[in-house]
């Protein structure tokens, strides 16, 4: 059963057409990836779904709610992590989570949410003192305050070290285990391969292909493609993690 439906979505700015007619559906409980180079239209698409910008044409539904008409109801059932993560610098993490839960009139224990993302020991620190990975995790914590059905993550691991990245992957997997739907944009292919049930590959405002990562790989290899690189049992990142350990470094 699909929880998100997008039909012929377009977004035109003055001269530039960021999204040129996109169609896709996301199934409930799925981790769905939007992949593409910078400027492909990933963020624009996601921000239309989040109700932050209005589409020029086409329609989009989340949980049967029209994103352009029932924007407020849509916002109540989604959790959002924006690409540039910023919160009030001089508020503590606990205060930020509390403040945001008030905005949804949803009563949650902010301590539990911070514990979930591994920031409980930092609850009294100000936002500005956090490292990049910690800021991303706080951003995820804030996205959880209304116990959302659908979570949107816009390039959550950009700029993070391998430990922090893998830590976020585990978090995202745990949301899926709870039955939440996750829409993720990234330009790291190994991330998409690790997390996504299906991916849409976007370029120049259009979807080129939608399928599961393994089907897409099979399709390519069946067409006779041979990687110029020798496939090995491990990657350099595996070596790095093996040598430096899995634990997070910033705490």
């Amino acid at each position: 059963m699909s929880i998100i439906q997008v039909r012929n979505l377009k977004k035109k700015y003055d001269k530039f057409e960021a999204v040129r007619g996109i169609d896709f559906e996301v199934n409930e409980g799925e981790v769905f990836g939007l992949l593409g180079p910078n400027g492909a239209g990933k963020t624009t698409t996601v921000e239309i779904l989040e109700g932050l910008i209005k589409s020029t044409e086409g329609e989009a539904f989340i949980n049967d709610l029209d994103v352009s008409k029932d924007t407020k109801s849509v916002k109540k059932i989604i959790g959002v992590q924006l690409q540039s993560v910023n919160f009030f610098e001089k508020l503590s993490l606990l205060e930020i989570v509390e403040l945001f839960s008030t905005l949804y009139s949803y009563s949650v224990d902010p301590n539990k949410i911070l514990e979930r993302v591994g920031l409980l020991n930092k609850k009294d620190s100000y936002f500005k003192t956090l490292s990049g990975g910690q800021k991303q995790r706080l951003s995820i914590a804030v996205a959880l305050v209304n116990n959302p059905k659908v979570l949107f993550f816009d390039e959550p691991t950009t700029g993070l070290d391998p430990q922090a990245r893998r830590n976020l992957w585990e978090l995202i997997k745990s949301f899926q285990e709870e039955g939440k739907t996750v829409v993720l944009t990234t330009h790291y292919m190994e991330e998409a391969e690790e997390l996504c049930d299906r991916v849409a590959i976007i370029d120049e405002g259009k979807i080129i292909k939608i399928n599961s990562p393994s089907n897409l790989i099979d399709e390519l290899t069946k067409s006779g493609f041979k990687s110029s690189k020798k496939i090995r049992e491990a990657t350099l990142e595996d070596v790095f993690i093996n040598l430096t350990g899995k634990s997070l470094r910033e705490d």
């Binding site: 932050l52 109540k76 001089k90 205060e95 945001f100 905005l103 949804y104």
Partner: protein
Amino acid sequence: MKIYLSFTIAASKMFFRRKSSIFWSLFFPVVTMLVFGNANIIGYSAPNVGLIDYANTDNSRSITEKLKESKSTEIQLLYSENEAIELLTKGSIASYLTINSSSNSNSESEIIITTRKDDFAEKEVVSNLINSVMLEGGDSIKELDNIKSNIANINYQGYKGFIIPGIAAMAIMQNGIFSVVFTLLSYKNQGVLKRLQATPISPSHFIVGHLISRVTIIILQTFLLLIMGVFILGVSIGQGSIMAWINILLFSLLGGVLFLSIGLAISSLAPSEESAPALANLVTFPMLFLSGVFFPIDFLPKFVGYISNILPLTHLAQGIRLSALYGNSTLTTLPQIGITILWLAIAFSICALTFKWE
């Protein structure tokens, strides 16, 4: 309601945690006030001198005419002692003269100069003026037998009495305008407002909560400055009238909302985000000098005075000063309140027409 309250509390916490905001809105005006309050700047008093002519003879009338020709003072004709005392208390005249007729001859025997306690400068200025009128008067003026001086039971607060309400008004303007132009704009730039937009509430809740927090801080700041004036500089504020203090509260509230709205208007009218602080300085800087914060606008050339009378800070400073220094209540400062509200309406309309959340 709960959302506004949460934002108000959050904005207040952030204000008190930011050293620069404490510095600019509390420390800086306090230091300015203490420095200027201790500066010995004299002759700031209103140049108006009252005159009661009880004698009403040819001679007293020619003396009055001569005094009126003087360039350094403005003679205001009065008809009773009560009226004179009232104006002296309010500060609209700095002293008054009484010409009495003598009981036994047809000449005027005396002129009395009444000044406030400790206002020696005024006494000297007015005595010199009378002496010069006598000397230059020629044939039309008969010498008076007696020039007496009298001290009314009214405190003269000197320059510090003038500067404290002025600094309080200045601080309202600075805090109001810059708290929007710097703080709110930085939230906008950092994308914090965008993040709030992704929640079911609109960012207007945050902006309103922020403004409520700032108005509260502005009121506290005004009272802090005035109370420090009482305890550190030893001026008397409000002349013991509760109504005057209530009126000061009203002025800080109106002034706070007014300058916060002007700040919002500046941030939406500024052509780019970088130019907003420059525009804010362009708006506040002239007002610092033309609005009677540091010296009375009577000191300025006439045509500049016209500009001063248009500026919102002039009326805010005047209103606070009338209450702080002379104990005026809301009823007697209606013109100042009216003009402040008029400016508020203008600034509000500009905001409503131009403000964008993005």
